[in-house]
């Protein structure tokens, strides 16, 4: 079950403090990287919620991010909504779309679940790619950033936007953590371990999975809104399955089913991408090698590795022995 161990809380505090400090110290290029990390971090939090804790490995989270980005941009540009209502609408819409996807895919498991989510993702990608409403291959531009001038904040400023992006990551994390500590989250973890038994105990499995998928979809939609606001231009590439695949790589790299690990994974991935791509255009190959090393080491990601070592050092005797010692 998900808990905030001292190690996790410490790691979170370090990430939060480090990100904020960097946001106030970095130049334009660093702030752009920070915003990129934040977008990926929200997406991987969304993915870890269902894949890491619920065992629902999704290849449509890129598409959900894209849906969020397009819904936000269309709501703002075509329907004339201001940024905040457009964001709320986009997140709600993505969540509403994710629920039936989760409900349908909940009937399958393992590789079939992955393929079903991939099919949904590709359907969304094709639809957006073909549709004139969404600008087809050309995409859409002009996604607005929220107007916070009433509180003296100008989000067109890169530094302010980076801080705003970090706050959205914190919001996404809090939503995911609260979900995992709720009845639904407890059931989600139970489903990962033994779906048959949970059904026999009286849980409506498809509904639990679909609800978790809807919450995850909402977070992916939020990542999409942020992505649209960041570049103020969106294209069908956002919905590509490669975005989902990349998010999965980041979750595995950071530590599947830890919620904190994927945050580290997002930082590592984006930094590695930019550092290595400055040296060679074959940066994907290097990241691939690192991922293979992580998988082959059987460590549950970078954070999972640290956590396992930490737990081994601090573990107390369990069961009767523990009771006797107490």
């Amino acid at each position: 079950m998900f808990t905030h161990t001292p190690l996790r809380l410490t790691t979170l505090a370090i990430i939060a403090a480090g990100s904020l400090a960097y946001a106030f110290a970095a130049g334009f290029y660093g702030l752009e990287i920070l915003a990129e990390i934040a977008i990926l971090a929200i997406l991987v939090i969304a993915l870890d919620l269902v894949a890491g804790f619920g065992g629902m490995v999704s290849l449509c989270h890129g598409a959900l991010l894209g849906v969020g980005a397009y819904a936000f941009t269309v709501a703002a540009n075509e329907a004339g909504l201001t940024a905040l209502p457009a964001m709320i609408l986009a997140v709600a819409l993505t969540s509403a779309l994710a629920f039936p996807i989760g409900a349908v895919c909940a009937r399958s498991t393992g590789i079939y679940f992955i393929m079903a989510t991939l099919a949904f993702g590709q359907m969304a990608y094709s639809f957006v790619f073909q549709s004139p409403l969404f600008g087809g291959d050309d995409g859409l531009s002009g996604a607005p950033r929220p107007d916070l001038s009433v509180v003296g904040i100008d989000l067109t400023d890169s530094r302010a936007f980076a801080v705003y992006a970090i706050l959205l990551v914190a919001l996404a994390y809090l939503v995911a953590a609260a979900t995992l500590r709720s009845g639904l989250g407890r059931s989600l973890v139970g489903l990962h371990h033994n779906e048959k038994r949970l059904r026999a105990l009286g849980l409506t499995v498809w509904r639990a999975k679909a609800t978790a998928f809807a919450i995850s979809g909402a977070l992916a939609g939020l990542a999409g809104c942020l992505a649209a606001q960041h570049t103020q231009f969106i294209s069908p590439g956002l919905l590509s399955w490669t975005v989902s695949g990349e998010a999965l790589v980041v979750v595995i790299l950071g530590g599947l089913g830890t919620l904190v690990g994927p945050l580290l994974g997002a930082i590592l991935f984006v930094v590695l991408k930019h550092e290595i791509s400055a040296i060679t255009p074959y940066w994907h190959a290097i990241v691939g090698l690192i991922l293979i090393a992580v998988v082959m080491s059987r460590a549950p990601g970078v954070f999972g590795f640290i956590e396992a070592r930490w737990t081994a050092r601090t573990r107390k005797p369990q069961g009767k022995e523990a009771t006797a010692d107490a």
Binding site: R197, G202, Q318
Partner: protein
Amino acid sequence: MLETRNLTKSFGPIQVTRGVSLKLEKGERRVILGPNGAGKTTLFNQLVGEITPNSGTIHLDGADVTGLRVAERARRGLSRSYQKNTLFDGLTIRENLGLAAAVALGKGQGLWSDPLQSVEVRETVREVAAQVDLAPYLDARVDAVSYGIRRQLEVGIALATGPKVILMDEPTSGVGPEMSKGFHRLLKALPRDLTILIIEHDMDLAFDVADTITVLNYGEVVFDGLPEAARGSQLLKDIYLGAWEDA
């Protein structure tokens, strides 16, 4: 409380249960005996809805539940333990029991609070842990405890749902004599208004706890009566010694 009428199930040409009719009154403890392959577990699977019968009906507390799904039957008070441990392996014993109690209390899909911290769930966990003698192991992970403790937990999870009827599929399967005695005590200590149907090969336990005994052979009910009658039954001895097949 639980009744089946002419329950029949075939897998291809093989009839696994043949017109099984049982009637359990509230609080009755019935043991199902029968050799391997007699259709006992298949009968359980039909009762809880994991397998759909070809014909016949199942009634729980007066209502026909034959068409209901597994989860819906569970919500109506039908709980089971499995012959092969079916636990939440990566979790602690406390979390296993808590999850079962939370789902049974309708807190399995809530969004606003942690059911494992609720008073009702914690109280259920404490009570069930005491019933199945797991209190000292509550914070141990399931994959770190012995097989015998896992068998106790298997029954504990079924009890944590607060069932009206509990089906136990060979609860003492694979455990030693001492732990088997523990199961005798556990079964005898359960509330008298709980209806219990047990598949069991341990004859001592069967005759010790049973109000009534049903014997299945080749999917058919061949004996249905009191333990005293079963104890002296030549038919039962023949089935277990194989003479039935020769007849």
